[in-house]
Symmetry: C2
Subunit: 372 residues, 2 copies
Amino acid sequence: MNHFEVLCRDPGGPARRGRIKTAHGDIETPCFMPVGTRATVKGLTPKQLEEEIGAQVVLANTYHLFLRPGHELIEKLGGVHRFMGWSGPVLTDSGGFQVFSLSSLRKISEDGVTFQSPIDGLRHHLTPELSIAVQEALGADIIMAFDECTPYPADRKQVRESLELTARWAARSKAARQRSDNLLFGIVQGGVYPEMRSLSLEKTVALDFDGYALGGLSVGEGPAAMHEVVSEFAPRLPEDRPRYLMGVGTPEDLLAAVASGIDMFDCVMPTRNARNGMYFTSRGPLSIKQARFREDPEPIDGACNCYTCRNFSRAYLRHLFRSGEILSSVLATLHNLYFYHRLMAGMGRAIEAGRLAGFKDDFLRSYQAGEL
Amino acid sequence: MNHFEVLCRDPGGPARRGRIKTAHGDIETPCFMPVGTRATVKGLTPKQLEEEIGAQVVLANTYHLFLRPGHELIEKLGGVHRFMGWSGPVLTDSGGFQVFSLSSLRKISEDGVTFQSPIDGLRHHLTPELSIAVQEALGADIIMAFDECTPYPADRKQVRESLELTARWAARSKAARQRSDNLLFGIVQGGVYPEMRSLSLEKTVALDFDGYALGGLSVGEGPAAMHEVVSEFAPRLPEDRPRYLMGVGTPEDLLAAVASGIDMFDCVMPTRNARNGMYFTSRGPLSIKQARFREDPEPIDGACNCYTCRNFSRAYLRHLFRSGEILSSVLATLHNLYFYHRLMAGMGRAIEAGRLAGFKDDFLRSYQAGEL
């Protein structure tokens, strides 16, 4: 039985509406995965994630959980699902991206990456084999091959060396797999150079993974270059496997990428921005700090049916933010994740109705019209 | 119709099980009021307060809301209930305690207190009339007379001057009342001197309030002195009015005070300690920081049925606390408030069953037996 089913296709392009089967339940695509870095989506209980957001799958970070509390501990306690009280699917990244972006004193060799923990200064050595072992100990439903996230900017030679290392690590990741109850995804690198993306795609697809991710994007290349890579290479990933665009992005990015045939996304934007008082709305982003909301009795977004919009005024939410109250983060996170999930569900229905282009135009006309 | 009904009395002492009728619903006593300083019980949504805790009434702080966002704003937005999305009863304190404990440059005169806002340095003048106006603008169901919280230690002369000022302010508070849909409580001061407490009680009761509070306790006098005052003076407050012990306390304090005839409590302890990783359990307080909980798969308290205990291990809660995750505060607050509410409900049922003393002994035997 295939773990991925394309349920229907957009007549006007490569977009599709699908379903991924995992050991902890199905994921309807296109889908957005809230980021639960340290085995918690910051500020929300699993109950809120399920009941208020309708989250289908949560991403947890291998790098963070490896360093604290450690994958052996989580395995001993029954795996990451039981550990965090989340019974739905979990995807873990490989740790590669965080090693490159968050740790210091890192040294890359053919074998893997040596780095220093920012928590206690201890040195660690992460390899494809260890990354897979950690992810399998955590017990994630979808795990990622260990890759080098190519820095940006980088010249062709650097990009090529990096993608070739990533390809060798991908083969080692696949060989290291021990469990049969998860899905292993390969990651296509190659920076912004089409011939390098092509080469990485070929090498990765040749290894036959359960799904494929486009990695190394949203790292400084800008939205235009990113959209170019996605629109050219998402459709070239195997039709019968889920396609995942890592670490992206804004609502505009999600619309463009789904239209290009991407199925899965993760991004800290809705959750991190929430903690900074930024709300996504049907009329674009809104910063609750502004003085003009001081006495505003309206909800954040009159078109939104989330818990926050059903119950609280902008004036109250501004008060909470200015007072540094925990509930500010909680209510903004609830709203932003609801917004992202509604957007994904809307795209799914639009694909089913054969009108994704119309949905996208309608959404953007409102979203880019300016603040409510 | 009386706003307070004693439903039954403990045969062995002054404890009682009662019901307070307010404009936003009934409060079953004995009851604990979670502290919602800035119109939010830190970290919890009103839905969690209602569904997970069973909170009946929330306390909000006049001082904090007066300074930010301002009572006029909250009034304009429909009052504190609508502002914070809480449809049950709300009690506001008078602001007196916070003016004395939190603000600087304060100057007390017969008229009131001048103080400086710690937020913006502006000077404010709070009087009994203004305190009542602020509380009525907020629209609380139970409001408190403006009092001077007598400092501790203080000699008899200081205590006497202070309680007499409080009595004059109590009369002015009562005269200042404009609304008829709230209950106004008077506050008995008098420090730890029995004759001063007596004098304050007489003067306060003579003004005929809807309920009475014992104030100026838990300010440094120690539990023994506090229990002495409560056990002597709670029973001397009018039988047919609710009795409120302000700012108290530990589970032991609540048991002793209910046995002395107190009906209502508020305290930051369950919520503040939660944010510091301290959990109340049936075997006493537990600090989740401890290394011995590193791999502990058990819930905080096997005897507890709260959301946190039903879903998470000590190992996970320790991980959240050590990682500085918001969810640590949320889950600990859920647990501690559930613990306090279950304790109050247990005392209420014990009074109905005529076995409060037995309940208290059973609880304390376990609670003081040492950590789980």
